[in-house]
Symmetry: C2
């Protein structure tokens, strides 16, 4: 739909456009300056900032300052509630609602140097926190107990706690740790792997599994040390692990190193999936790739202000990598009776190569 | 709108109706059995559970099993995205969308004994964690550093981390701690008080303020130890505080004890606000009540699966307390140059009284 304006009300896109978050609406005209209609905080002021109590005031305000009331407006309909969208439609007397959600996500997927530096900085801190993991572990711990100590270190290193995701099935708290067969538990949420969690209100991730010698622990805690995030997973064995864990982990490394070497701007996302799948098949590990009971048919995704941005590295993707994108590649296997193995790195896409930003040791770590 | 069915897709209401969460839809007919259409996890099975890949399959499935396709359906339009609502409308060929959000919230506001016991249990653990606060403090700490140690204890005591809220302006991470003049900072979010936060992506709560002798610290960390939550705030002085802090805190105690004594089922929510306001005015503390720059015109709210449930204790509320409701009452003052003081307790409403469930010491605590 060809539109005269769009209205932005999601926190993530408000931050992306202005550098801050408020309760209200950004009205972006196709041409001309944007206006910020702010309900809260009352203290926010500045050029183009107009305090309102409710969206129904917007048309009168526009008339007063001599601006046209746009008839065709795009909203963030993938995130805005139906109630709020319909209320805005009535308030602005809009005959039709169009969608700006996916276009904004596509534009946001190519980052500025400022944003890419946030991702690099976040990854550097992320690596420092992961370096502490062996010293945070002690024998007899559960996955949850170790996660709590990692969470504390994350916060002490500047993690703001929450991290943002897109979509209605992305609940999570600070990341995911999967020990032993909890890695096989299917979750309702749209993450690569699952886990049972510790509450029926958040069935994902660590579930209180004792960290038992001979099993593995996959650590996929958030890299939210800057507004633009990185994503990194690493696997540890508890004391020792069966040969198959090392073998499958090595296949994950082979996949990610193959993809690293062959990928640059212009490569199609589907191609990344197919390269990964080929190596999985050569090693006859299909039943374990990206889950067992419930398998995720993707091998990576964009990262930025949200943890799950475009492009998505799936077999049917039509997207092509562009310079300035940031993507996480995460080939993982779930081995029954052992746990998850594999790796996840974040990369920045350049004209001629991928730049790896998550630099923690990639081999299986050992917790003793 | 008189409807033939409603569709529930929010996690909170799925849990409320079934005891678990899934990616999919509960179709509740006005009469007859409900059906669960489940996308994820694939492993979920049982009576009335039907696996689907997409909502467009629902009409054919209903025809196959001999059920009518409802033409008038209520959706949770206050939480469901516009895109998803319109997709469901098209998939089910619904001429009209009605709203079930507010009715469900109203029904949920009166709890079962099972739910009330969860709130009592959560409050007991919440109290135990608050008892640790003086021992977690040391001189020279910032609000964030102390909060991190409290977060760790919360998690060790079973907090699931995230807590659920209703509405589009309720971002938060594990609770709020406000030290000194950070309590005056207006926030975009719909909480009683504000605070600047440590990231522009989450402008709320602790901002790294040094805990300085002569100032106060208000602790309002989550009581999410059970799916149904409690809500409790307590105030600490750092070593000592000016007389006005003690005086204003005592007014908060006077308010909450007056409300405690006069409240039971049948009392109107507006009446609670007016009682509180009267005491505030008698003490000439209006400019500091519930904020300074930005004042919240309410003195409490329902709690349960979400932290902000109906009823809301505002001057214009038309709601009346009912037996089985759980409400938080939180008279608070923000004192420039000192910080926030006051208290918040959670109560269960009975026919003849309020039952207080948050039992940590109410006087100003001292951190030394």
């Amino acid at each position: 739909m060809q539109a005269e304006a769009c209205i932005i009300n999601s926190s993530v896109n408000q931050y992306w456009l202005t550098g801050f978050i408020f309760n209200g609406y950004i009205l972006v005209y196709q041409t001309g300056e944007s206006l910020l209609f702010v309900r809260r905080p009352h203290t926010l002021s500045g050029e183009n900032i107009i305090g309102i109590r409710k969206p129904e005031q917007i048309p009168d305000i526009l008339r007063e300052i001599g601006l046209t009331i746009p008839k065709k407006v795009l909203l963030e309909i993938d995130t805005i509630s139906y109630s709020t969208a319909v209320r805005l439609q009535a308030a602005l007397e809009m005959p039709e609602i169009g969608n700006i959600s996916s276009d904004i996500r596509k534009i946001r997927s190519v980052k500025s140097e400022y944003e890419l530096n946030q991702i690099r900085e976040s990854a550097t801190i992320h690596t420092k926190v992961y370096e502490l993991i062996p010293s945070l572990y002690h024998k007899g711990m559960t996955d949850v107990e170790l996660q709590i100590e990692i969470e504390r270190q994350m916060r002490l290193h500047g993690s703001m706690g929450i991290f943002r995701s897109f979509g209605e099935n992305m609940d999570i708290f600070m990341g995911s740790m999967l020990a032993g067969d909890n890695a096989q538990t299917a979750s309702p949420f749209d993450y690569a792997l699952g886990g049972g969690g510790i509450s029926p209100l958040l069935p994902l991730g660590a579930n209180g599994t004792l960290l038992t010698p001979g099993t593995t622990l996959m650590v996929d805690m958030a890299g939210n040390y800057r507004p633009n995030m990185d994503d990194m997973s690493r696997t540890f064995v508890i004391e020792h692990a069966p040969e198959i864990a090392y073998k499958a982990h090595q296949v994950s490394l082979d996949i990610i190193h193959t993809l690293e070497a062959s990928t640059k701007a212009g490569v199609s996302c589907a191609e990344l999936w197919h390269q990964a799948e080929k190596i999985v098949k050569e090693n006859k590990l299909e039943p374990y790739f990206m889950g067992t009971e419930q398998q995720a048919k993707f091998v990576g995704h964009g990262v930025g202000l949200e943890i799950n941005e475009p492009p998505v590295l799936t077999p049917r993707s039509k997207e092509v990598l562009e310079t300035g994108m940031a993507i996480a590649i995460e080939p993982k296997f779930v081995l029954p009776g052992i746990g998850a193995v594999g790796i996840e790195n974040t990369y920045i896409v350049h004209d001629d190569r991928l730049e790896k930003v998550t630099l923690y040791e990639e081999a299986l770590g050992i917790l003793i």
